[in-house]
Assembly symmetry: C2
Homo-oligomer: 336 residues x 2
């Protein structure tokens, strides 16, 4: 380990008290200029770095924001971290990242482990079930912002992608193109975002007034489940004339199923996804989808945490999505 140099060593060398070293290094005003310069130069020379735990124990601040996510890998989280990290950097903050790896029951443990390590918390908890348990644990302490999470906890700041509005807009687009038998491949039952997208689909269909019945097949956000759903839909009679998958990964799985079966997209069946992952523009045909600006979600959540007044009644904020029309959907000439 090598004995690290402490504030005492610096004080000794500079012939001042540790208090003065602390003040000089932290830029307090009440330090003689000559003294400050001497202290700073000695600290430099000795390669002194304040011991973080000691500093945060006495100052009650950690300069760190905790990020608790359901998972760490994958495009989504990587983009999210990018947005969060950008703001952290601007503000000179560190990030303590923790994932509960898809085990909602470990989430509370992850949250508790943050005590004494962070000044605030960004939490993403898309599991519908664990919502209130979560609120309870957040309430007791740290300033927090919830992302894409279903919670009824009052006083909790929250920011979500407008999944309901986005799904509705996509269905409207499909209806506008002339599609009528629009099937929906749903996401996991216990996922709040999946739930909202499904709700948007249903609502838009009801609004369209073509008395089209909801046509929902199960999925779990994975490519494989989309592939399976695609095959299932092809076996129906009549087939849907458009398929809206609750996320792009399932849309891609479905697309492969259609390609395998020789179905023409969008001639025979149109296809749309949600998220706009990078792959969406590369597949053939390129996928119509609803873009979610994920880094922006992270950045805005971070700013909400840092800048928003803690008091007052926080209004849950929404992040708009953007319809990206590509080749997998097309206005029908025989539109009724």
């Amino acid at each position: 380990m090598g004995d690290a140099v402490t504030i005492k060593d610096v004080a000794k060398r500079a012939n001042v008290s540790v208090a003065t070293v602390s003040r000089a290094l932290n830029g307090h005003v009440n330090v003689a200029d000559a003294v400050r310069r001497r202290v700073v130069s000695i600290a430099d020379e000795l390669r002194y770095t304040p011991h973080h735990a000691a500093r945060s124990l006495s100052s009650r601040r950690t300069q760190t924001v905790g990020v608790v996510l359901p998972d760490l890998h994958g495009e989504f989280f990587s983009e999210l971290m990018r947005g969060i990290d950008g703001v952290a950097r601007e503000r000179g903050l560190h990030l303590l990242v923790s994932s509960y790896h898809g085990h909602p029951e470990e989430q509370v443990a992850a949250l508790r482990a943050m005590r004494g390590r962070v000044d605030g918390l960004l939490v993403m908890s898309p599991y519908v079930a664990s919502a209130d348990q979560l609120g309870e644990h957040l309430a007791s302490g740290l300033p927090s912002v919830l992302m894409n999470s279903h919670t009824s906890t009052p006083g909790c700041r929250a920011l979500s992608v407008d999944n309901h509005g986005g799904a509705r807009a996509m269905v409207r687009h499909l209806v506008g193109c002339g599609y009528r038998r629009i099937a929906f491949i749903a996401g996991p039952q216990d996922n709040f975002e999946a739930h909202e997208r499904l709700r948007g689909y249903r609502d838009a269909l009801a609004e369209a007034g073509h008395d089209a019945q909801p046509w929902v097949v199960d999925g779990d956000f994975s490519e494989a489940s989309g592939h399976h759903a695609g095959h299932l839909l092809l076996s129906q009679s009549p087939r849907p004339d458009a398929v809206f998958a609750a996320n792009d990964m399932m849309a891609l799985g479905c697309l492969f199923a259609f390609n395998q079966a020789g179905v023409d997209i969008p001639g025979d069946i149109a296809l749309a996804g949600f998220d706009d992952i990078p792959l969406a523009r590369y597949v053939h045909p390129a996928l119509t989808t609803m873009r979610v600006n994920i880094p922006d979600l992270g950045a805005r959540a971070m700013r909400l945490l840092l800048d928003a007044p803690e008091s007052g009644t926080p209004v849950p904020e929404q992040l708009a999505t953007e319809l990206i029309v590509r080749d997998s959907t097309r206005a029908r000439s025989d539109s009724s």
Copy 2:
């Protein structure tokens, strides 16, 4: 913030000293069973969580590993984090992540900021230039493992992808297919991995003995630079019969350039990359590449940090790559 409950509160309620609470909660043996049960249940009831900074200040341990990376976003880092995180999880460790965002000069600051916050460090520093500066700062303290970094610092544990061997193997594959005029799109000059891949290309070419001259065009690992290089190569006469890009992103850029120009791959020119990013299998034609198991790199680096004896002379370890042959290269019938 809400006044957090401390060890004192638990001690008071349990009618024991804080020392006993500490021992009971930390599972030390010398605590009466009845007392331990009482303490544990009271701590539970009070929702007591030890204050991390205090604990690590007195115990000199943080249960945290620091990860200092050149960047945070993108597939590569996301996969790397996945590997690191898996091991951290197994061992009950936290991760403090820090990026210096492509500014090598900020790397030292990032490293220093880790003092008192972590028990060990995983560092990735692909900038050739900053290598020794780095070693100096690492030496003074924390156990560390370097990933994909060029360093001559003795006593420093290190783990790298076998970029040299991988590039050599790819060139051998191309030569074996019958290609002779093999151009190479290089990565950034100051990047250690790019440097090693280039070296592998040169060495393999020399070994092939067809007295083929190295044919290197500049690139910077970006898709755009690959696209540019592709156009440049098409303007040459004679054209190369195969192009090996130092990474997949550039290979994809090159592929788009070839497709735009109506060049048949691999009929007219073969194409190969390095990394095996997910996109590689989806493009048309699917890209021959050298797979790097990135999560494994992270996981092994982590294990090296945690398990390897700190003393002794550490031997830099290498991570093997795997040749993935897809449609963008093919054995030539008119092979000489």
